[in-house]
Amino acid sequence: MESKEKIENELRQLTPGLPLQQQATFQLPNGYFEQLPTQLLVAAKTAQEKKARIVQLQSNQWKFLAAAAVTMGIVFFSYYYFTATEGDDAINQWAKQEINKVPAEHIVEYVDNTHAVTQVRAAGQLESNDLALLVQDIPQEEIQRLLNDLPATEMP
């Protein structure tokens, strides 16, 4: 600490009317400074324990939240996977049954014609007369037979 004399000299020069280093004696609870070290040690340790409990609780909460997120992810993924597979299987089953009913040569013929139309469409040059040109070589009774053979059933 700086010397008392130095501080008093400074004060004397600065404010001659001010009392020098006088301190009022405030009222204090009995034995306050005797008890304070123990009181503060207890308070510090209690605060530390509380802090540790909060940190522990927070870390457990993170673990719980992480576990919950993983579980929810698994449940959601499983639900999506199984329901999507069931739907696909039903559709595939129906499609197989329907295709089996159609004679093979009709399918080939249909695919050939569709492919031709798609090619023309892809080129972006399909005009009203082009369709007539595409079907002009197919006999009328062939077309009628194809239409009669195709089942008009609805999807399940």
């Binding site: 600490m1 700086e2 008392k4 501080i7 004060l11 600065l14 404010t15 009317g17 001010l18 009392p19 280093q21 006088q22 301190q23 009022a24 004696t25 405030f26 009222q27 204090l28 609870p29 400074f33 304070l36 070290p37 123990t38 009181q39 503060l40 040690l41 308070a43 510090a44 340790k45 605060a47 530390q48 802090k51």
Partner: protein
């Protein structure tokens, strides 16, 4: 026990077997200085006790990691002044009264002390301090009551020595004026 150096106390604190005793000795060494600094800032004993408690809890929590690039004494004082200023800031925010009313409240609390004597110069001084703005009050208390050199105060408050001298001189003039008028 309070004759231990800060270095010895630090070493003892870092050893789990002497940690509690070192902390107790450290409190014994600084408690009165810290308490009277806080008491003159916040006035009420209950508030001062709370601020002192928070200060030493922070000391306990941070002492193991204390880097020793500043003096332990300065570090503890910095914690105490920060705690004081944040306490007063919180109180100001919560208060429904004006600043001058709060000054008046503090003066009334000084007068409520059972040892208060309105005729004595030292009590007039205590009342005069309560009229100062917080920072100026802090500088005056540190210099006048705690006899802190400007150099150390400069490190503590992170303010230039020149600015601190000016602040102290200004505060002393205000106090002188208050005493002359009362």
């Amino acid at each position: 026990m309070t004759s231990y150096t800060d270095q010895q106390l630090l070493q003892a604190f870092r050893d789990p077997s002497t940690k509690d005793a070192a902390f107790t000795d450290l409190v014994k060494k600084y408690q009165e200085k810290i308490y009277w600094l806080v008491k003159r800032m916040v006035v009420s004993h209950e508030d001062a006790n709370d601020v002192v408690q928070n200060t030493f809890i922070r000391v306990w929590n941070g002492l193991e990691k204390f880097r020793e690039d500043s003096q332990l004494y300065t570090w503890i004082y910095r914690i105490a002044t920060n705690e004081c200023l944040s306490f007063l800031e919180q109180k100001k925010r919560k208060a429904l009264t004006s600043l001058s009313e709060q000054e008046q409240e503090r003066a009334e609390q000084v007068k409520a002390d059972s040892h208060f004597d309105a005729q004595k110069l030292e009590w007039k001084l205590e009342l005069a301090i309560q009229q100062l703005p917080e920072r100026q009050r802090l500088v005056f208390i540190l210099r006048y009551y705690q006899e802190m050199p400007y150099e150390q105060m400069s490190k503590l408050l992170e303010t230039s020595e020149g600015a601190l001298k000016a602040s102290y001189h200004h505060a002393a003039k205000k106090i002188e004026q208050y005493i002359l008028n009362h």
